[in-house]
């Protein structure tokens, strides 16, 4: 007797969908109140891109914009960060805009790091951090079409999703992607051992992704109705998080929104760093703790 894998997969996919609808968690998407956008520039050749991105963000969020010159690069990075945070505090900023050059603008060694200022800001600041990377064509269009990386931790999902909705409102599109990473799955399979590990099939993991993301998809759909933007949700199996995200970004310029936090179950700071490093387009890192 032969099994029909394709139908088994179809059954599993459909079950995952219904389970998502039948077991909803309450996710509240509160619009972020951002009255001031603080743009910190350091005089590098990325300055124009960073400023354009800051202006576009302020325009979309209907916030005022404040610019500051960050101190010279050879100064202690922690002091630079303290200066930026003090300025943000003084102006009541709700969003920080900085740069972390991408690719051809920087040396090979620097490509492996975001720069210490961005690194420290990611760790220490609770404010959303918009990071300019490569030069942009249309900064406003880029921000209005965010790619939101959805993870397995419901606690982490609300704030980044609310930011995505705030940027996309009135005509934009939020592309939500969930990525069951092969490397993570392999690790879990090894932990479970031969017998139990075999039961954790890719099909089951995709189903779990759909189910766990269901509440967020529902909340975003309802918000999209009110705010007039489009939502798409995709599960991208079979490749690493970075590759799946890069692939999803495609050729359209989009801002990548990544949630991160200290507690976990979801994508931690390391994941956020990897995604920011790999992204050619701007990245909005939102802390969810």
């Amino acid at each position: 007797m032969k099994h029909d894998d394709e139908n088994t997969q179809d059954i599993s996919e459909s079950m995952g969908l219904f389970e998502a609808a039948l077991r909803p968690d309450e996710i509240t998407l509160e619009s972020p109140r951002i009255e001031t956008v603080l743009v910190a520039v350091d005089g590098s050749n990325q300055t124009a891109t960073t400023e354009a991105l800051g202006r576009a963000a302020a325009d979309i969020l209907e916030a005022r914009i404040v610019s500051m010159d960050a101190p010279p690069q050879d100064q202690d990075a922690r002091e630079t960060v303290q200066g930026i945070l003090a300025e943000a505090d003084r102006h009541g900023a709700g969003l920080l805009v900085v740069d972390a050059p991408f690719g051809e603008d920087i040396g090979a060694l620097e490509m492996q790091s975001l720069g210490s200022v961005v690194d420290i800001l990611l760790e220490e600041s609770s404010l959303p951090l918009l990071i300019a990377r490569h030069e942009l064509g249309d900064a406003k269009a880029t921000l209005r079409n965010p790619v939101l990386v959805v993870d397995w931790s419901p606690r982490l999902q609300g704030p980044p999703a609310a930011m995505a909705a705030a940027l996309a409102h009135a005509g934009g599109e939020v592309l939500m992607i969930a990525v069951p990473e092969p490397v993570v799955l392999e690790g879990i399979r090894r932990l479970l051992g031969d017998e139990e590990g075999k039961r954790l099939t890719d099909e089951l993991v995709s189903r779990a992704e759909v189910r766990l993301s269901g509440s967020l998809v529902a909340a975003m759909n309802k918000l999209a109705d009110q705010e007039g933007f489009r939502v798409r949700f995709q599960v991208r199996s079979g490749s690493s998080l970075v590759n799946a995200v890069t692939d999803a970004m495609g050729t359209t310029e989009r801002v990548l929104i990544v949630g991160h936090g200290d507690h976990d179950g979801g994508h931690g700071l390391q994941h956020a760093r990897e995604l920011i490093l790999a992204s050619r387009g701007p990245v909005l890192a939102v802390k969810a703790s």
């Binding site: 007797m1 088994t8 059954i11 969908l17 909803p24 509440s215 998809v217 489009r230």
Partner: protein, 483 residues
Amino acid sequence: MRTFPLPGNSRTGRLLGLALGLWVVLAAVARAEGAGGSPGGPMASMIVLGAIMLATYIAIAFELLHKALAAMCGAVLAVIAAMAFGLFGAGGYETVHEIIGHDLGVLGVILGTSILVEIAGHSGLFHFISVNIVKRTQGEPKRLFLYMIVLTVLFCTLLTIAPGTLIMVTLALAVTKELKLDPKPYIMGIALAANSGALVTFASGICTMMVGAKAGLHYMDFFRVTTPIALLSAVVVWAVVRRLYRDELRDRGDPVERAKRVQSFDPWALVHDRRIFWRSAIILLATVAGFATAQAMGVGLDLIAMAGGAAALLLSGFDTETAIRKVKWPLIVFFVGLFTLIGCVQATGLLAKLAGGIEALSGGNPLATTMILGVFVLVLSGIVDNIPVAATLIPIVVAMGQNGMDVTPLWWTLVVCANLGGNSTPVGSVAAVIAVHALEKERNIRIGWGEYLKAGGLTLAIQGVLALTYLWAFFEFDLFPEG
């Protein structure tokens, strides 16, 4: 129909089915010989090609080979044998392409609708509708059961039987798990009602499409002939399963708590892309409208189906590669092989002889022929996959038409009985196979042959009597549309 792990007694059942089929075939041939026979080729070619066809059917019925591979092997052997016997005459090998060419219409309909249905089924639209409807039941078991039967007929009508059943079975499994209800009555009801849905319109089931395309039945005529009996047979399913599973459908637990639980279901979690959602709904409805008006426009249903598939690919934003990969290619390969095989067997004159035999069995009475065909198809379709049953009977009915009989009643009988006949056993229809497989896989609950036969057999017995009476009335009062 696809292959699934099957309950242990299935081989015995199918062996009985094949024995019955073989007996009828031999009886018909013998009768034809006795009655002077009908025009045919040399006996040797009939025996060899008949044996190839029988061997292919055995391989399909007993899953000795994947059915697409069995049909391909059968086709290759049949073509070689036909060439050896010189059955293709002056046309030579080109005749094979002519044989396949005659059935391109039905292949086009299957291909186009497969793509469209794949996109519509994955758009979340039908999942969304079904959860919204379930919310209206407040989780009350009997009402939930009724709504599921209605939705099954509707979804199978619009999406064809396999995807419609898949959505409904998974809905039933998920909802009954959430509400702590026994899934069996719902799964049985869906498996049986799906076959009613498959005969509502021309494009609702593979069998229906095959017969409809070959016979040139008009889309709108289905509303007049098959839709009423489809709805009536769905009522039979509702009544029989509700009665047999009355204990399981009894209202237990706290209705207030259950209603609260049902109200918390959130259908918006099912919408992954609203653009695909709405556009696929519009394209699906436009395609149904196209089917209904194809005749007036002077085009074939295959053109409408292909246009619907192309529009869905073009406008939904759904990935083209994924959608085309999901087309049931094994089914297409199976059909090409089967049609080639049957075309070769037809060239021997064996099927014409069988047609003559059936006519002789009924004494040349058209009403008796209709009733005999109806009973034969009802019984055989429960035991063997109804697609090969229909595929074999189609050229026999064609041959009867060529012998001068008015075959319009036979076509409609074939549509109605081949679909309903699948209800008696857990291997009789694609809906039953999906339902039984999903219940076992997801909930580790088995429906054995005995239990299935009890509900399915009783349902089919009532549906069979109703269907034959219904067809008799159509015959008697000359209600069948003009052929």
